[in-house]
Amino acid sequence: MLLQLSHIFKWVNSGGQRIFLLKDINLNVAEGEFISVMGPSGSGKSTLLNVIGMLDTFDEGTYDFLDTSVHNLREKHRANLYKEYIGFVFQSYHLLDELTVKENLEMPLLYKKHRSSERKALVADMLDRFNMVAKKDLFPAQLSGGQQQLVGVARALIASPKLILADEPTGNLNSEQGEEIMEQFKQLNNEGVTIIQVTHSEKNAAYGKRIIKLLDGRMV
């Protein structure tokens, strides 16, 4: 089992009222799964993803990731955990504008203290794999949205995470570009990477092996 959420609650207090963002979420994810999370706006999809990614906290329940009790960890250790095992892909790519494609890919490795030669090899692999060798010295603004998101996926992947969390990865892309990204995900999943994606599109959701539906913070 990769991760296990049981009875997760998350709320905010607003004007004396408790508003639930997540209500009693129970979710087990095994290694190698490809899960699509669906639901209308405000149903808690992104919140759930952030909780799984340990970017956000929850108020009640337990969360075990690879046999580590996340709910007992302090923020610093939690951060170390996600930095080691989780890669993120964002709707708006979140590439750094002032870095080239190559440098954007290299950045996570810099923070993990890989050697220079090792970094170069890994970046070269990634560029090869995503057919971006020719574009390695371009800046994000010189790429199409689909290409930027490919860089985003490559960046998420470069530190060999066990889990990829993708928050509407195709939301800003046209259908052709979106399909390309989903094909990449499918291939990654076939190679054994666990993927959880949030999406609005039924078509993209269908790439997943399991679909979870959320409504008002509750799994339905």
Partner: protein, 789 residues
């Protein structure tokens, strides 16, 4: 990693060029000033410290008890004290005589040079580190006509041949006779407060001035070289006891020792004869001002970088999500800061090099950036670390603690704390600026006051000429010839300078003098009969002397002296001067006979033109050029073999307050630069705020706000801060300036308009600075500003 930090840091700076330039420009300016100050302070602190036996060198000073136990400190002491102390106290190795320097004309064959010099004993050169290059300095003690000259002066006379030709040559010192060069000494280092180009023997001076043998006289200054193991305090006590056992009187004067190298910076003493200040105050003021400037520009940095951090929230989020640890982000931001400070340091270094000649001319120093000195390196390194950490640490901490998800949404998480800190810093910044502006105005006003003060005598259109024997002998002829020139009004003799009557004596007795009054010093002036006329000094009672050469039976006093003597109908009353009775014939109106640091001194005036020492020539107003030409021709005609050297009295007077004048000008520069830097920061903040509030401004405009409304809205926040800083800084500035003015016996009042003017000007400048941005953002079409959201 560091390479990457630098690379990304550089790209980031290039992306925000405005932010980058504001920081670099402000920091460079502040650093340039700091470097210059560092050099100046270093230079001031190295004064007189180059002597090898620095720790053993002490100057002997004298305390004079006044009424109510108040002590006055004088540098003048007597020769018997120096000599006897050295003979009797084993802790003292040698004594050195320090004479008052004078300018004179030195002639060899037909060559004539003007130089400054005085007397000294031979030990003077060995106790201080003043090496002898040629000859035998001990001759200075042995031969009456021996002379020691500096290498510089020797070169002026004999050029490259000085080494062979100087020794044994005869130099005629104008008014003093012929001397033989017995030794040539190395030029005194620039860090020596003593600067003389020739010395004759102290014994000669002694043989010509019998009164020097009196224990109580104060005609010279002196220093002692103590044994390395001597305790200066004990020696001082012994010197004091020795001194007091040889002088008479109820309230005895005392003697104490001050370390010779301290005398330059710590020249002022309080009523208990404890060091109370001196030049060190200027050193402190400027050090503080430089630190202020540095602080102000560091504040810019902190404010701008924390503000811009919100713009960079997205980047920080991404970096955190892909695995950046907090300390890595701190490292990255500190590297960016270090990049900015490094560039600023290089710029400031170049600026300083370019400015240095000007600064040297202005401060009359010869400073250079001597990179071979570890002190300079340490100083620069210290300032570098100070600036980088002060500017970089806080922003780095704030930025690196952003929470990743919110950061990814592009929201900087500005805590209330950060915002109020920023406001606090703006207040501090403007507070410091206001402090500097108020100081600049007050110092300038005080200097103007000194220059325009009615001294009670007229110092304008007056030149003075050293009165030597030849001049004295031909004075009447010279005077008549000069008076016949149309552009010259009159000529008189007086000395020492009436504006600074340095000679004084307590040997005046009058009917009813109390024991307490025994030590009151009367300033002395030797004059010709027309002295009050030429200087425009009015006579309150009686009359001044009648025309004549010397009068030993009469005396003229000033009002202050009369107050002390408390005599009714003074004219005709008899007082004693040095034991001989004299009749008061007149009372002069008080004029400022010392610097304005001191109150007007009681004074007596002699009719004794031959011993006066200075000839004063009064020129007709507006005819200076003609008058000087006439002076030159006449002087050369009457005294063909005396070279003419004259100086203007008012210029000499201004020179007395040179450090104040320099301080005043420097404070102006400081105030100007600090307001410039503060406004740079304000400009940056306003630019940023305007961008931040683009959406708000758009919405307000759609809802009907006018450009005026918007401008007011944004300006108001900033002006409030400036107003607060005015309110806080004004009383503090008042306090400091009040303290500074206490040094002057005659001083201006600090009036309210100084603060009003400063406050108003600061507000206007701040308003102009921000209005550029606020108006720019207020006129944007709301359709454009809202679309970007």
């Amino acid at each position: 990693m560091l390479k990457n930090y630098i690379k990304f840091g550089w790209r980031n700076l290039m992306k925000n060029k405005g932010y980058f330039l504001i920081n670099v420009f402000g920091l460079s300016l502040a650093l340039t000033i700091s470097f210059s100050m560092l050099l100046w302070v270093h230079d001031e602190y190295s004064m007189d410290k180059f002597h090898e036996k620095n720790d053993q060198l002490f100057q002997v000073k004298r305390t004079i008890p006044l009424e109510d136990g108040v002590l006055d400190v004088y540098a003048g002491i007597s020769y018997p004290l120096l000599k006897t102390a050295t003979e009797q106290l084993p802790e003292i190795e040698k004594y050195m005589t320090l004479g008052r320097s004078f300018d004179d004309n030195l002639t060899v064959d037909n060559m004539d040079h003007r130089a400054r010099g005085t007397f000294a004993n031979a030990d003077f050169f060995s106790a201080f580190s003043f090496p002898i290059l040629r000859g035998d300095i001990s001759q200075l003690d042995k031969k009456m006509e021996a002379l020691a000259i500096s290498e510089r002066l020797a070169k002026r006379f004999w050029g490259d041949q000085w080494a062979t030709e100087a020794l044994g040559s005869v130099i005629h010192i104008h008014d003093n006779g012929d001397y033989t060069v017995e030794a040539v000494y190395a030029d005194f280092p620039k860090h020596s407060s003593i600067q003389n180009d020739f010395y004759y023997g102290f014994n000669r001076f002694l043989s010509e001035n019998d009164w020097m043998q009196e224990w109580a006289n104060n005609g010279m200054q002196g220093a002692l070289l103590l044994r390395p193991d001597a305790d200066p305090q004990q020696v001082a006590a012994k010197v004091n006891t020795l001194f007091q056992s040889h002088i008479e009187g109820e309230h005895k004067e005392g003697a104490f020792l001050q370390k010779f190298s301290d005398a330059y910076l710590y020249g002022q003493f309080d009523e208990k004869a404890q060091v109370s200040g001196g030049r060190i105050e200027y050193v402190r003021i400027f050090t503080i001002a430089a630190i202020f400037l540095l602080l102000i520009s560091c504040i810019n940095f902190v404010n701008l970088s924390t503000a811009y951090a919100t713009k960079r929230a997205g980047e920080i989020g991404v970096r955190k999500v892909v695995g950046a640890r907090k300390n890595m982000l701190i490292g990255q931001f500190l590297t960016e800061t270090a990049l900015i400070t490094s560039i600023s340091f290089i710029t400031a270094y170049i600026f300083t090099l370019l400015l240095l000649p000007g600064i040297n001319a202005f401060t009359e120093k010869q400073m250079s950036i001597d990179l071979s000195q570890p002190g300079i390196w340490l100083g620069i390194l210290g300032v570098y670390l100070f600036t980088t950490l002060l500017s970089g640490a806080y922003p780095a901490l704030v930025i690196s603690s952003f929470k990743p998800i919110r950061a990814l949404k592009g929201q900087g998480q500005e805590k209330k704390k950060t915002i109020s800190l920023r406001k606090g810093l703006v207040v501090l910044q403007f507070g410091l600026t206001i402090l500097l502006i108020v100081s600049a105005i007050v110092v300038r006003l005080q200097i103007n006051y000194i220059h325009s003060k009615d001294l009670g005598l007229s110092k304008d259109h007056l030149v003075y000429i050293h009165q030597d024997k030849k001049l004295t002998a031909n004075y009447e002829v010279l005077r008549n010839e000069l008076r016949s020139a149309e552009a010259i009004e009159d000529v008189t003799l007086a000395g020492p300078s009436p504006l600074d009557m340095v000679a004084s004596s307590s040997g005046i007795t009058w009917p009813g003098k109390t024991l307490d009054q025994g030590n009151i010093e009367f300033s002395l002036l030797w004059t010709a009969y027309n002295f009050p006329e030429v200087f425009n000094i009015s006579i309150v009672e009686g009359a001044y002397y009648r025309e004549g050469t010397r009068d030993t039976l009469s005396i003229v006093v000033n009002q202050k002296a009369l107050d002390i003597m408390d005599l009714e109908d003074p004219v005709g009353k008899s007082i004693e001067v040095w034991g001989k009775p004299r009749q008061i014939v007149g009372v002069l109106k008080d004029f400022h006979n010392r610097s304005l640091y001191e109150p007007i001194q009681p004074a007596i005036f002699f009719l004794d033109p031959e011993d006066a020492g200075m000839m004063f020539v009064k020129l007709k107003a507006g005819r200076t050029k003609d008058a000087l030409a006439a002076l030159g021709t006449t002087f050369n005609k009457v005294l063909p073999d005396v070279p003419l050297h004259y100086d203007f009295v008012d210029q000499q007077y201004a020179a007395q307050y040179k450090s104040e004048a320099i301080t005043g000008t420097l404070t102006y520069y400081f105030a100007f630069i600090s307001i410039l830097i503060s406004c740079l920061g304000l400009f940056g903040l306003a630019t940023f705020m305007a961008k931040q509030r683009t959406k708000e401004i758009g919405i307000r405009k759609v809802l009907g706000a006018s450009i005026g409304n918007i401008t007011t809205l944004i300006s108001k926040d900033f002006l409030k801060l400036v107003l607060v800083s005015i309110l806080i800084a004004s009383p503090i500035a008042y306090y400091f300036m009040f303290i500074w003015l206490q040094d002057f016996s005659f001083r201006i009042e600090i009036s309210w308009w100084i603060f009003a003017l400063t406050g108003f000007a600061t507000m206007i400048i701040a308003l102009l600075t921000i209005s550029f941005q606020t108006i720019k953002s207020a006129v944007i079409n709301p359709v454009d500003s809202l679309r970007t959201e």
